[in-house]
Symmetry: C2
Subunit: 632 residues, 2 copies
Amino acid sequence: MTINEVQPTALALDWHRRGGTPAVPSQGRLRPLGLREVTLRPGFWQRRQDVNRSASFAHIERWLERAGWLGNFSTEPEQRRGREFADSEIYKFLEAMAWANDPALEDRYRAIVRRVAAAQHPDGYLNTHFGRPGQRPRYSDLEWGHELYCFGHLIQAAVARARTFGHDELVDVAIRAADHVCDVFGPGGIESVCGHPEIEPALVELYRVTGNARYLSQAALFVERRGHQVLADIEFGRSYFQDDIPVREASVLRGHAVRATYLAAGAVDVAVETGDTGLLAAVTRQWKATVARRTYLTGGIGSRHQDEAFGDDFMLPPDRAYSETCAGVGSIMLAWRLLLAHGDPRYADLIERTLFNVIATSPSDDGTRFFYTNTLHQRVLGTSPPADTLVPRASSTLRAPWFEVSCCPTNLARTFASLAAYIATTDDDGLQLHQYTAATVDTTLPDGRRIGVEIDTDYPVSGRIAIRVTHSPGTPWTLSLRVPQWAAGATIDGLAAARGLIQLRRDFTPGETIVLDLPVRPRLTAADPRIDAVRGSAAVERGPVVYCLESVDLPPHISLDALRLDPSITPADRDGAVVAAARLTALPDEQWPYPALPDPDRTAESLPVTLRPYHDWASRGPSTMRVWLPTT
Amino acid sequence: MTINEVQPTALALDWHRRGGTPAVPSQGRLRPLGLREVTLRPGFWQRRQDVNRSASFAHIERWLERAGWLGNFSTEPEQRRGREFADSEIYKFLEAMAWANDPALEDRYRAIVRRVAAAQHPDGYLNTHFGRPGQRPRYSDLEWGHELYCFGHLIQAAVARARTFGHDELVDVAIRAADHVCDVFGPGGIESVCGHPEIEPALVELYRVTGNARYLSQAALFVERRGHQVLADIEFGRSYFQDDIPVREASVLRGHAVRATYLAAGAVDVAVETGDTGLLAAVTRQWKATVARRTYLTGGIGSRHQDEAFGDDFMLPPDRAYSETCAGVGSIMLAWRLLLAHGDPRYADLIERTLFNVIATSPSDDGTRFFYTNTLHQRVLGTSPPADTLVPRASSTLRAPWFEVSCCPTNLARTFASLAAYIATTDDDGLQLHQYTAATVDTTLPDGRRIGVEIDTDYPVSGRIAIRVTHSPGTPWTLSLRVPQWAAGATIDGLAAARGLIQLRRDFTPGETIVLDLPVRPRLTAADPRIDAVRGSAAVERGPVVYCLESVDLPPHISLDALRLDPSITPADRDGAVVAAARLTALPDEQWPYPALPDPDRTAESLPVTLRPYHDWASRGPSTMRVWLPTT
């Protein structure tokens, strides 16, 4: 099927009645639900979504003003502040506000949109860093300029607005921008791409909203161009922006982790809309290889600080793990698209892991400080950045209020605001539950049958998930439940449930309750022997949550370095934490740290140690911390 | 003692009669020898010194011309090429030529000096990157501008020339430059320092050559200023250029490894010349902590790519080990100064380790390709950069001919050219041998007694070192021999010799031979348990040489990842290599690389594996490689 033959049937859907949703493919195994069809109820994720709306939004807007990035849209070129991509933070924030879809935000939203719109050039170009007197010319630095990246986020914000509200000024701005991009980078135009992918999924989404196939063609062109060395070589190599190998030839994600996931998400979007099964298979293969060889236990990706990039296969050091928050966002964007395309619960497994251990880890409890990177091992005590300070360094040892490169607060904001979309999907025959949290689902199948369930659970505290049917059409339909790969021993209504997808097909009765029980008891986890950096170590997990040991939970005289986990004793729940058995070992005090083998066994005294969820780490002040504990 | 009271007695020495030497402290436990007093004879190091002189020099000069860095001294500002510090490569090369002190080089040397001298401003300022029309003003970017760094290398080159030859045009240029630096940065001038230390040791050395205490005072001022946040904060933090903590308060080397060692070397120089025992003790303490906690098995330092910097204590991942060649040079500069000050053989131990495993590793056999970084674990096959290509990336997986930042070829050149200086020293009572290689030593003690020895050895192939006395004054004197810390079981003339310093005091007879036997048989080495990245692994060493396993030495179907070293079997010499026992293990093929504990034992088939010296790695084409091998 060529692009022009595509019949974008999904476009006909009245998405703003359903509350909108990110990523609306016109074909694929599963269909997303709208944000009005899934309502979070009190629990792990609703609490975070509330903090996002009630605290992070205001925090972000204050900092966007304070750092001058919002002001850039109305100041003179020489007053322009922030990095090349600062405009995009405003767009991500607008996207977050659009998903939140809260009348109380409407005035603020419109005020920002007015400022943005005023800066658009008559031909649709819009970027505060290029093209004005005293600035570099438009598109003079595609490697680092981020112009198309900024357009991508502008378009994503407008897509969110169109789906949640309808046509407005921002949608017009985005359409003018997209037309400009197609004019300049279309056939006969500049034959190149942006150093940072993002325009690709954005243009496909705008195509889905508008039905204008020109945007899909342009996205496909960008996906195809990349990998043919259309960008200049840079210190980090062209793999940094995935310009080393064409998307359909690559075997694994590589280079800058955020760039890699955004590009892959866009490639899935193009593949799905154009029926390009070869391209979809290529990205699917890359995702599998990346999960198997380049992903941290937390779901985090990117192990290198220098270029915020993937390392080689199995190069996953826990200390100085980069695991950028935004790469977690990108990983969820990608896995979600693959889940919709294929229906395989493995994608939802990774989303769950990434949500609980990357997305939930970055923000502070009050939603006003953030980890940019999410290390799995902190060797030295950090110092807390002052609340009013813009932090120049990504690798802050404690959560910081704002960064010179401050993509994570706004990226989290749009993710939390649209979180309900990732809970469930439908297909022709019923409802699939992918993530477990207290929520209400009320939707209608394409054939008009209304289905509703209420999910009652305190997951991940306990593994008991009660699904009460609230609406059932009186005909048989299928309720699909994901049993995570970690959940050996799960039961449904008391009967053993194998890991993977459990499908219950029957004529459900409103009021009946299905109980899924996931064994969230603490467990010990090992690592592939090729992950050299954690050889001889184990981690503690409990359900989908990775645990860690922090120095604040140790007696003051005991060093984290001196502990050896005893893997013969299974860790146990105690008072909301997990207690494991450890032994103290004497640490050598040598002038030269490489003694002859055999090395003496120094293990001595045993003691219980308390581990807590990794996503809460560093919330009680500076601490050293380990996810992977050396074993006895 | 204040600076003005210093009596620089060493200045009276006629160094160019003795062939010159780097670092001539006026006080300390040991005194350096001149390059005419120690002559390398055929062996491991003479071969490398010959290649340096016969091949690397021409290679370097060709690239300095080709990259335009030499031309910078005579071109217009807008034609100026290369990075901010490109001038310094010319100076390091001039220093190398000066130490080589070869009449055949004299015309080329003078031609380069003429080009350099012509670019000096009337007030002594000299930098091709700043201060001319169209360029940024002088000293407008102390953080990154490298102006004082370049002056430092200019002065070091002139010091080498003064000591090996005498007063010449370059010495005049350097004195004018040093006077300019003192004028601008002295009391009442700019109260700051250079982002890259180097001016500090250079000014002390120029003081030693000229007797002008102003240079010593200025060096002391630079050392004292640093650490008080006189430079701006940068993305990497002020520790990057050691401006976080004053030198005399720091507990360990940190930040950029080359910067850290150059600064520490300069601080030792200042401390020794001014009798500042507190400052000397501070650097000594930092050195000890750095060796114990921040040094690779190879002696290499710096584990982080992002900022070419030290990591936290024990953060020493073998893969992506940075271990910059120039940091090896800086480490030797520092250890040598501490050795002269204290006489402790531990400093010579580290010099030996660094020479054999960093300095010898970087250049190719033919002296025309170089490793910029020296990783201890290569996971993927590299590709060879073309011989005529300037490589933008430091972390080339194979040796490259030249880099955008090409400090290592010239830094190696000056090190190899002055290598004989590190072999031996004298004190009032005799001769100390620190490094073992075939060589002749012929020197005179301060009291006029002539002492000579001829060292006959093929070390490190064998551990037999025969020291034949060639000149002895007929009165008792002390011959000190270093027995390396690794050399348990060493003997001298058949008698057990403890590790450390062995002192033989007697009236040696010309013609008599002392035989030191160091047990260079292969051995297995472990690591401090806090070096998480090599837990459960062992390395093979043989004498001072670290060995490694390369994929080119494995059958094609066997992956380096699948090998487990059997530590119960001692490795053995075979045909110039070392053979160890390994077992093959089945590698898992999972979608998710974090299985539940307990993990099954997959070890199977056993086989012998051949290890070769790490310094030779990647000399037979692309290879994967490990220094640290997981054990069974």
